[in-house]
C-alpha cells in the first residue's frame, strides 16, 4: 500500500512535502489538488472522507492529513 508521502509525490512530484508545515501557504497544494488527493486517499485506504472534512485545515501538512486518516479508521 502506498504511503501518504508517496501519494502526495504522485500528485505533485516537484515538491518535498516533508519540508513544509503548510502546503497551501507554500503553494504546494491548491483547492483542485485537494480534490485529487481526497480521491487518492479514499481509493488507497478504502475509506470515504466526508464532505465536512474536506477543509484546508485537514490538509495543511503531513500531521493533519494523518490525523484525518486516523479519524477515518486508518491504522498508520
Amino acid at each position: 500500500m502506498k504511503t501518504l508521502p508517496e501519494i502526495l509525490k504522485e500528485i505533485r512530484p516537484e515538491f518535498d512535502f516533508s519540508a513544509s508545515s503548510d502546503f497551501m501557504a507554500d503553494g504546494m497544494l491548491d483547492s483542485f489538488d485537494m480534490v485529487t488527493l481526497v480521491a487518492a486517499l479514499d481509493k488507497t485506504y478504502g475509506i470515504s472522507i466526508q464532505g465536512t472534512d474536506i477543509v484546508p485545515e485537514n490538509f495543511k501538512n503531513l500531521n493533519t492529513i494523518e490525523a484525518l486518516l486516523r479519524q477515518c479508521g486508518v491504522q498508520l
Binding site: R12, E14, F15, A25, D26, G27, M28, D30, S31, F32, V35, Q50, G51, T52, I54
Partner: protein
C-alpha cells in the same frame, strides 16, 4: 438573493451543503483573502435553500455564479429557481478533470446555460538552481500605480471578460504593490505586460499580452524571460489558457508549459448571449 456580509456566513453555508451530502458538488474554491475582499466591497450575494448554497459575484456588467449542493439533481433544481438568471448576465466556471465534469455540465445545460469557452491548465516545473538568462530584460520593469488605467484598458481589450476572470482596479493595484505586474513601456505607452501571482513555491501567469501596435518587437519574450529569471524559488509554474487559442498554447509550449489535465468549462446564460 441577499448581500453576504461576513466570510463566516459563506463557510457556514458551504458546511450546510456538505453535511451528509451523497455527492457533494461545487465550483466554489475561495481563497480567504479574495473572499474577504468580495465581502468588503459588497460584491457578493447569497441564497441558501434546501441544503444548497448559491453565490453571485458582481464583475463589470455581469455576475459569476458559484454553487455548493449535496448532489447534482438538487443543484439543477436550485439553479432553475434562481430569479437572477432570467434578468441578469451570468457566467459559471466548472473546474476539474474532463472525466468528472460530465454530470455537472449536463445539469447546467438543462438549467439553461450554454457552453461559452473551454480553458486548459498548463504547467511546467521550475528549476530554482538554474536561473535563466534575462537578456532583453533591459526594457522590462515593474508597473507602478500610474500604469493602472493603461493596464485595465489593455486587459479589457485583449481578454474575454466572461472567460478570463479579469481583475478589478483594486486587485490590479494590489498586484502592482506586490511587484507582480511586469511591463514594457514604449513611446510613453504601455506596450506589453505580464501579470502573475506567486504563492509559496507556485507561480501563476494570469495575463501575458503585447499591445497590437507593438508586436514583432520581441517584448513578449523579454517579459517571459524576465519573469522566469526573477522566480528563483518557484518550483511549479502554472497558467490557464483558452484551449482553442492555438497561437497562445504554442507560445506557452515553447516555454515548457504542458497541459496538466485540469479543465475549466465556462458557461453563460441566455441573457449573456443576447
Amino acid at each position: 438573493m441577499a448581500p453576504v456580509t461576513t466570510v463566516s456566513q459563506v463557510f457556514a453555508a458551504i458546511q450546510g451543503a456538505k453535511a451528509g451530502a451523497s455527492a457533494f458538488c461545487t465550483n466554489f474554491f475561495p481563497a480567504q483573502g479574495k473572499l474577504q475582499g468580495w465581502v468588503d466591497r459588497a460584491e457578493l450575494l447569497g441564497q441558501f435553500q434546501d441544503r444548497s448554497a448559491f453565490f453571485l459575484r458582481k464583475d463589470r456588467d455581469f455576475w459569476h455564479l458559484y454553487f455548493c449542493a449535496p448532489d447534482v439533481a438538487t443543484l439543477r433544481q436550485g439553479i432553475e429557481a434562481l430569479p437572477n438568471l432570467k434578468t441578469q448576465r451570468v457566467a459559471v466556471d466548472l473546474v476539474g478533470s474532463e472525466a468528472v465534469l460530465g454530470d455537472l455540465l449536463n445539469a447546467l445545460e438543462l438549467a439553461g446555460f450554454r457552453r461559452y469557452a473551454r480553458l486548459i491548465r498548463l504547467a511546467r516545473p521550475g528549476q530554482p538552481t538554474q536561473s535563466q538568462s534575462s537578456s532583453g530584460g533591459e526594457v522590462v520593469g515593474y508597473a507602478d500605480k500610474s500604469d493602472c488605467p493603461a493596464i485595465i484598458h489593455l486587459l479589457e481589450c485583449s481578454f474575454d471578460r466572461y472567460a478570463d476572470q479579469l481583475p478589478t482596479l483594486d486587485e490590479i493595484e494590489a498586484a502592482i504593490a506586490a511587484r507582480q505586474v511586469l511591463v514594457v513601456r514604449q513611446e510613453g505607452a504601455l506596450a506589453a505586460l505580464l501579470y502573475f501571482e506567486s504563492q509559496g513555491f507556485t507561480s501563476t501567469v494570469r495575463y501575458w499580452v503585447v499591445a497590437e501596435q507593438f508586436r514583432a518587437h520581441r517584448f513578449g519574450s523579454a517579459l517571459m524571460r524576465h519573469y522566469f529569471s526573477a522566480q528563483g524559488v518557484i518550483r511549479r509554474f502554472i497558467l490557464w489558457v483558452t484551449a482553442d487559442n492555438e497561437n497562445a498554447v504554442m507560445k506557452y509550449r515553447h516555454y515548457g508549459y504542458v497541459p496538466d489535465g485540469l479543465i475549466d468549462h465556462v458557461l453563460v446564460n441566455e441573457m449573456t448571449l443576447q
